[in-house]
Amino acid sequence: MTKYIIQRLLAALPVLFGILFVTFALARLLPGDPCVAMLGEKANEVTCAAFNARYGLDEPIVNQFVIYMGDVLTGDLGTSFRYGQPVTRMVSERLAVTIELAFSAMIFAVSVGMTLGIISARRHNSATDVFTMIGANFGVSIPVFVLGLFLAYVFAILLKDTPFALPPSGRLSAGMAVTSFTDKFNLTEGDPLYRVAQFFTNLYFVNAIINLDGELFVDSAKHMILPAIALGTIPMAIIARMTRSSLLEVLGQDYTRTARAKGLGERTVLLRHALRNAMLPVITIIGLSLGFLLSGAVLTETIFGFSGMGRALYDGITSSDYAVIQGFTLVVAGIFLLINLVVDILYGFLDPRIRLS
């Protein structure tokens, strides 16, 4: 198993290098001269030469790449000219938003998707099954932004003034206070734990639990329901279909029949024997869906007014804030790579054939 994990880690290294190269190249290709973007009206030949020398932009391109890699490895992602903030700070604030959103969407997708898939497989060809699969087909065909707008319309407009009303935008209601961990533990900007504290402050669910703030928890949960459903519906539908087809295949296998023949209850057969073996393809799909969630986060964050990674990246691209683009693309791709690595390792853990081949 250790050997397998090391193999996977080594295989990820060239991809990581490739990601660094792509983010570097993208920032060089993206709209706008960094000097003009940064200095604005003050940009002329003299100031630009000084600017380029300061940021190493007059070096040969290979050296620039080496400098960039060195910066990234030491945790320096540059400075956003638009906000005048270090990109690492923006990441620590906004990554929490996206992670919370993606995580909520995933919980929705996995719990609902797998339940529907199991029910469909158990009652194969029944009305429930047919209905669920028609629903799943619609689920994969609805764009995130259409579903988001639709949910906002139904729950914020049509159901307004009913107990089912849910807020259509923002992460918290006006006037909600959040306890900041940086203040709580008296951390200052230079402290190595400062960014970490900032990150956890913005994970409202974790924040509410640590501070035992019930009001904050309920309020942020209310704001999270619609975005999570909007973002999680496509993965939910895919997971439901995958669970169903995978489970149906396993239920037709000899060992399932053996399990039934030796008199095990239907529940035990389904949950202990069949579901375990049907999980492999479902886990792959869950891993792949996380990439989709990070993509879809751009749309969901736009619609529901969250200031997360996706939104920041979109703003960065439209305002040619190239340190932000570079930094955020890198972080997003890094997270995605990490998730895929975890899925790979999990896969090897669940299926001995894979790690031994």
């Binding site: 490739g18 290709l29 764009p143 707008l149 319309y153 993509s295 439209t318 791709a333 995605f336």
Partner: protein, 355 residues
Amino acid sequence: MTTQESPISPVKPAAIDFSPRRKSRGFWSEALRDLFTRRRSGQVGLIIVLSMIAVALLAPTLATHPPNMVLIGKEEGVKRRQSPCIYAVDNLPSLPVVDFFRCEPGQPEHYFGTDGNARDLYSRVLFGAQVSLKAGIYTVTLAILVGMVLGAVAGYVGSFTDNALMRILDVVLAFPSLILAIAINSALLTVAEDSIFSRGLGVMQRTLGFEDIGLLTALISIAIVSIPTYARLVRSQVLSLKEQEFVTAARSIGAKDNRILFRAILPNAMAPLIVAATLGIATAILDTAALSFLGLGAQPPTAEWGAMIGAERNQMFTPPHLIIFPALAIVVTVLGFNLLGDGLRDSLDPRMKNR
């Protein structure tokens, strides 16, 4: 096939009839037959896709107005964001669906109402079918052409070439697709302004009939992002097919590598590729709409469904028709391609026979 077989009875060896009981059909006609006769959802998908193609082709005839014409000052009583109005429903009984289309006194007839620029929404949605289908089909064609060559070369040549190509594609896959597409799209738009690429883009613009440069770069970037999927698919097919006996046979009669690859291997790898392409069109339409919704793909005044929703998304809460009709168009089209793709997959998979 199962019921027609006669019960087993002893036969004299001489009486065995070696002529095929029925004319054997080819793989493709067998698959199509299966799709037409047994795959209910595949048929629904096919009908939806064919009707959407018909709508796209007939858009100029079916449309009541030019899609980009601002009607203020050209038509009596027209307003911005006017709700749907069909004269024919006047005599129908009061139902929520019917009332939605009921006209106010003096309101000009617009089946789906008018948009924020007082353009006829019905005509725009119809012309949107042209835009989306074109975008979906071109994107997938482009991605498949490149992906097929890369995958075939990687799988057939193997060793270092295979490794190098696959690692490069891994890097593309390491980015969440829409985010990478957004970034590539912005890069392409700069490139489009001043460089040798701008001529290439200009040629593509003319040959593909795209006036909207934003839409063109959007579909190129979506195509680039989806290349690895097709390349991996073709590679895995080639890897398993090249060990088959008919390939050895072709080699033994002296066929050259490119003949073996293009005449023997690739035609046999077509079935899964066609399924992937059909499902890929659905994804491409969704992604194009998403980019346009964000304002990065189709630019005004192009009648693109995603862009139409994006332009009016803040008006959702007053006249919902501006969102409802383009949204329905996207969902139905994407659903059609998804159903057709699933049906084709079942029909083309020999293991799914009789299921």
